[in-house]
Structure formats: structure tokens, C-alpha cells
Symmetry: C2
Subunit: 216 residues, 2 copies
């Protein structure tokens, strides 16, 4: 019985292991450089199995995207639930981009996804969904702050769009290790914009005011 249960799970576990391997390889080599063999080796199985489960390399890519989506969402939720109150949450978001959390902070993977989304429908859908969720989370924090009276925004939707886009733009420079861009700068540049955009008062805007002691 125990053996049976274990066995029943094994194929499913293997499948997932392959999906994770796919993501890892894409992260490492990009979509363009990811080979079936790389994935098989990374997952500790054979090429054959990768194709057995997903039909083709493209199939493996597509399937790995939905895993990515799920994990991104889950991690985002977990991350934001750690912190309470609109200002600290927003600050937390500012710091999220700087590399907290493997899925969220993985900007190079994001770049890969964007480019793939130009020509691949699965990637396009995944990226769109990911982005929508991400903006939704940001929007939620903004609404909280608005309701609490600590944020002010005449057009919250536009503000969210801008803040999300700014983060992507800064992320490019972080991902490409632009000289002069660091995680610290990333956080502060974005935070300053958020303060400006949402009319956060200087009293609340100090990073140290609600978080632990921090030196940026």
C-alpha cells in the first residue's frame, strides 16, 4: 500500500522535476540555448522522458510556464502577507525587485519571457497573466493606502501602471548589470517614485519608520 502510493506519485514527481529543470535551464541558457539534453541532465532523467511527458521541447517550455505562473503567484502572496500596512507593504515591494524571492527577483528569466512572448503564444499568455497579477497586487496595496488616507492618487490605475513599468525598466538594468545600477539603487529609485506618485508624506516615507533598522 505504502509502496503503491509512492509508486503512483513517482511519475508525477518526475514530471515536475523536469518542469523545474526546464525553468532552471532556461534561466541559465535562455530559451534559445536550452536543449532537451540539458533539461534531461538537469532533471536526472533521459531525453526520452522529457518528450514522453511533454511531446516536444516547445511543449516542455509551455508546461513550465504554467508552473512558473503558479509559483510566482504563490510566492507573491506569501511575500506580501508577511508585512502589514500599506506603507510597509509598498516598501516591501520596492525591495522585492532587488532579489528577494527566487521567482520574483529573477529578472533575466523575465527578459527571456518577454522576448519569447513576441513570437510564442503560450509565453505571451503567461507573461500577460503574470503581469496582470503583479499589477493587481500592486493595485491592492495602493487601494489599501488610499483607503487608509496615507496615499493620494488622482488616477490609481495609471499610477500602478507607471510604477509597474518603472520596475520593469529598472529591472532591465539590474538584469544586465548596468554599471551604476545596484539592488540598493533599484530599491531607492523605485521607492522615490512611489513616494512622489502616491503623495506619501515624508513622515511615512522614511524606510526605517516601520521596518527594522536599515541602511540604504
Amino acid at each position: 500500500m505504502a509502496k503503491a502510493a509512492l509508486a503512483a506519485k513517482a511519475p508525477e514527481e518526475r514530471r515536475e522535476r523536469i518542469l523545474r529543470a526546464t525553468i532552471a535551464v532556461v534561466r541559465e541558457r535562455g530559451f534559445a540555448g536550452a536543449r532537451v539534453t540539458d533539461i534531461a541532465v538537469e532533471a536526472g532523467t533521459s531525453q526520452g522522458l522529457v518528450l514522453y511527458h511533454f511531446g516536444s521541447l516547445a511543449g516542455a517550455f509551455a508546461a513550465s510556464l504554467t508552473l512558473l505562473e503558479d509559483e510566482f503567484y504563490e510566492e507573491l502572496e506569501r511575500n506580501l502577507s508577511e508585512v502589514v500596512g500599506p506603507v510597509p507593504r509598498l516598501r516591501h515591494i520596492a525591495e522585492l525587485g532587488a532579489g528577494h524571492g527566487p521567482a520574483v527577483g529573477d529578472w533575466r528569466l523575465w527578459l527571456e519571457l518577454w522576448v519569447r512572448a513576441i513570437r510564442d503564444d503560450d509565453a505571451r499568455a503567461a507573461r500577460e497573466s503574470l503581469d496582470t497579477r503583479w499589477r493587481g497586487a500592486l493595485r491592492q496595496v495602493v487601494d489599501e493606502g488610499l483607503a487608509a488616507g496615507v496615499f493620494a492618487a488622482s488616477d490609481p490605475k495609471a499610477s500602478v501602471l507607471r510604477l509597474a513599468a518603472l520596475m520593469d525598466g529598472l529591472a532591465i538594468q539590474l538584469a544586465l548589470a548596468d554599471p551604476g545600477m545596484t539592488t540598493g539603487k533599484f530599491t531607492e529609485l523605485w521607492w522615490k517614485s512611489a513616494v512622489l506618485e502616491l503623495g506619501i508624506s515624508p513622515v511615512n516615507a522614511t524606510p526605517g519608520s516601520q521596518g527594522g533598522p536599515k541602511k540604504n
Copy 2:
């Protein structure tokens, strides 16, 4: 004599034609999908010649990047010189991203370059140089406005960084045809940020105040 001059130029012209073809093909199919044959066909020559001039496909990519750089810079200069005064110039920049000018507005090509820059040194250098120039141009406009007293910025460098990054971030959505993102929205979202970031007074901030009649 005339014949000689023409002949002397022919190989060089062909070379350049190949470089332009390379850019065109990358734009169309991406770096990952660009084949030597595609380039040869696009340029109206043979595969052999592409390799003869550039040694390898990667060589053709690299060489085409420097052409891209030059043309980008040239076009940027030309574009900005068309308009006089800091506010109209900044407004012009806001509209630049929305597709004016083939090199500047070509956001998909930009995405391709970013991803290639993750792993290719030539692309990395090209992208960095391109970005530096771009930020420099923006910085120049900002400084003009500061000197004229129509802009206010406590940290111009940071403002430029943010405005440049915001444009990249918005560009991603434009490039990927995100539902709800249009060239008009792109321009207005960026412009609003610029107004906020640079403390442009509402009197100056109205798009129509210095340009032709416009409805956004």
C-alpha cells in the same frame, strides 16, 4: 574613372546592405531565429558573401550592432534638433517612444538586444552604449530646462534614470501589445511622470501649448 569609383564602392555597399539585412532579419525573427540564408536573401546576395565579410553569423550580428548604434545616435540627434525649447523637446521625447523614427521606436528589436546582451559581450557593449547615449540626450534636455527655470529636480541624475527606465518599462508593454497599452497611452503615461518628476507647471505642461493641436 567614374566606373572605377563606382566599382571601388560596390563591395562596401554590398557589405552595408548585408548589415542592414541582418538588422531587418533580427527584427523580424529575432537573434535566435535569424539564419545566414535569411540575411543573404534579404540582402540579395549569397550565404558565402555574408561569411566572407563577417566570418560568421555572430560576426554579422556584432557588426550590425555598430551600424545600429551609429544610426540610432544620428537619428536621435536629428530628431531632437527639430524641436526647440526644453518643454517641447521633452514632449517630443515622450512621443518618440510611440513609434516616431524607425530606430528609436523599434522596441521589439530593443528587447532582442537586451536578451542577447545577457550572454553576448558585443551586444552588452552596444546596449550599454546605446543606453548611455539615450540617457545623455535626456539629461541634456533636463539640464536645459533646469537652466531655463522651467524644470525643477533635486537629483537630476536620478530623475533621468527613472524617466529612462520608465520608458523602457512602458516599451515592453507596447512591444508585446499588452491589452490596454497604446502609443497614445504610452506617451501620456510617460509625460505625466515627467511632469511630476520635473515639477513642470501646468501652464507649460499642456501638450498643445507649444506643439500643434493634438488630441490624446
